[in-house]
Amino acid sequence: MMAGTTDSMKKTCATIATLAWWTIIDEFRQRSVVIFFAACAAFMFVMRGCYQASYVVNGEALDAATIVSHATFHVVAAGVMMLAALMAMRIFKRERDDGTQAYLLSRPIARWHYLAGKIAGLWLGSTASMLALHGVLCLMAFLNAHVVSPGYLTASLLCSVNLLLVVLAVMALSLWIPDFLAFLAILGVGVVSFIGHGVEAVAQNPMVQSAMQQSGAQGAHGLPWWKAAWILWPKLGGLEVAASSLIGSESFSAGALVNPLVNVVVFCCVLGALCYIGFSREEIV
């Protein structure tokens, strides 16, 4: 009995791993993904000179390596998030149209195996892309500014949770609404998340808080709707900013990481369940 269960689990894992590997191969054969990587190479080529520049703000000289490392980290993380959304938005439609779903699901494969394989493939594929790009940037920082930043790749790994959320959200939404709308919706959620995080950071500044108290902005009783919405909003920006504090000499606070990480993981679970429910009802043609 036990041996049978273990054997069945092994088979399931092997099937999901096979489907994930095929997803990665198929995605990286797409022309749009190749174009994206060409754009990334061009971006890195442009960025290589920035490590030699000097940056002065209010007459104070800033560390070029730290500034450029942070900027490139965020640009690559945001870019790969967009790539993950682009890959995820068309996966169901493309595989329905080219017959992939029919040939896979006419085999002894459960729908959740197929779904798990697709999600794992997209997530691992985009995470590997982000790690590779961040790895190249890390190497560039070392070669140009002789700076070693061990936290760079750890931060990159933490940001991969954001990629999982993006993949799940776009896949789940594309089961109910047109693909491009699913992509735009997640783009909107991401933009609001980053702007909201910036506003939240500014609002925590003591000067801003005292200004708000003087103007009576916090005088209202109860929780305003926008504050409640923000608490429940996916914290993509918060997680990325918290992860980026691992880079360079900034002080890293584990406390600041926990809240957005838990938020994103909870969203992943909910969206994963929605994806499963939606795909279980899909008609295969």
Binding site: D98, A102, L104, P108, E283
Partner: protein, 235 residues
């Protein structure tokens, strides 16, 4: 082998399949016949659990079709055969064989054998986007025959083929009969059906009109086509 019990499928107010009940025994070659829109493809899609039933039950070897193990030894050829454009015919066959659920040994040998059977030697390493409709049809039929399935479900297997291809498919299906394979054939080529199949299930407007041995329903001086027209127009 296959049992349909009171199978019904509704799309909103439209009933595509209504209370269909029949069974197909092991080793039986059964033709699924009916005019366009009779519900044949819907029935096949429910058999593969591609679409959910509104009512009833379908089992394969006693297993409900919702159980993926019921598809362990099924070969399926879709009504619209397609191969992802980025794959070669060989890659497609290999992928299908890998997911057959019968282990990974001998996959390459099996694929090589199938390439011979479908007559595609020398073209198997070309991208699918360069294949004609008939070539795609052949590779998809090959994929259905991989790993020696016990049940073959073929939806219009000769629709894109030339006369030689049609003849080859017929000869192939006749040769598989001796191995005890079960066949569910959905086709409009009634002369081919008459030569290959043992029984026929005729559907019209979602209902099963008849399911009997072809020899019993085709009377003297009659063809299966005559029977088909008589049964469908009389329903």
């Amino acid at each position: 082998m296959i049992e349909f019990r009171g199978v019904t499928k509704c799309y909103g107010t439209l009933t595509a399949v209504e209370n269909v009940a029949f069974s197909i025994a092991r080793g039986e070659y059964c033709a699924l016949l009916g005019p366009n829109g009779a519900g044949k493809t819907t029935l096949v899609r429910m058999l593969l659990h591609f679409t959910a039933m509104s009512a009833g039950a379908i089992t394969i070897d006693g297993l409900p079709v919702s159980d993926p193990h019921s598809r362990l030894a099924i070969g399926y050829l879709s009504e619209q055969p397609r191969i992802p454009a980025q794959l070669t015919g060989w890659e497609y066959l290999k992928r299908c064989a890998q997911l057959g659920g019968t282990g990974s040994s001998g996959i390459a040998d099996d694929c090589a054998r199938i390439v011979q059977v479908i007559g595609m030697q020398g073209r198997e390493h070309e991208k699918a986007r360069t294949y004609s409709k008939g070539m795609v049809q052949r590779f998809c039929l090959g994929a259905a025959l991989l790993r020696d399935p016990r049940l073959l479900i073929l939806d219009e297997p000769t629709s894109g083929l030339d006369p030689i291809g049609i003849r080859e498919v017929r000869v192939l299906l006749e040769s598989l009969k001796s191995r005890g394979m079960t066949l569910l054939l959905n086709s409009h080529f009634l002369s081919e059906v008459e030569r290959i199949c043992d029984t026929a299930a005729i559907l019209n407007r979602g209902s099963l009109l008849v399911k009997d041995p072809i020899a019993a329903i085709v009377k003297e001086n009659e063809t299966l086509e005559d029977v088909f027209v008589r049964v469908v127009s009389g329903s």
